[in-house]
Subunit: 115 residues, 2 copies
Amino acid sequence: MSAPTTACCAPIAREPLGEAEAAELAALLKAVADPVRLRLLSMIGSHAGGEACVCDLTDAFDLTAPTISHHLKVLRTAGLIDCERRGTWVYYWIIPETVNKLGALFAPLAEPTAG
Amino acid sequence: MSAPTTACCAPIAREPLGEAEAAELAALLKAVADPVRLRLLSMIGSHAGGEACVCDLTDAFDLTAPTISHHLKVLRTAGLIDCERRGTWVYYWIIPETVNKLGALFAPLAEPTAG
């Protein structure tokens, strides 16, 4: 209809991204741009104690264990999660620094306090 | 090495995403998970006045105009940008509401003020 009256205030809209930075962020975004991986990430992060057993994750999906493993590996390769084996099971947790890179890109700045 | 001592505080790590929400967000993330589209988005958003002429965008890349058009269309279909023709040129601007959906997913919560 007409031109915008307000510009978006997220960091991505504050200055042009360089080529190298854009390539790095695009790779990170590709890792999360999948419904199963988004759900895995949110299940891991919101699990009691901040970590989840692979057994809990697999049970929540109508997918085979190898498929879940593949998605977990993509998240891990991207640096979004890490894991450790303890006895029978592998436990996963989120790496906040990597998630925060995405937050830093899209997070809206605080609005000026009104009223 | 060892289990995490702090959980990530981004909204994605606060509660498990539902299937429908994860599918919607994954589609949005796919649209931005590309270096050229990330750069286009940041060029549009950071342009003077909050909008950019397609002529400015095309000049910044070693890509053909149809390739740039394709990427702009992906961003537009995802609801991340909109455009309007004025005379010879088409002008693009960011739709903040859509960018903010990604911000709402990954933005870190404010840390408790320490000292």
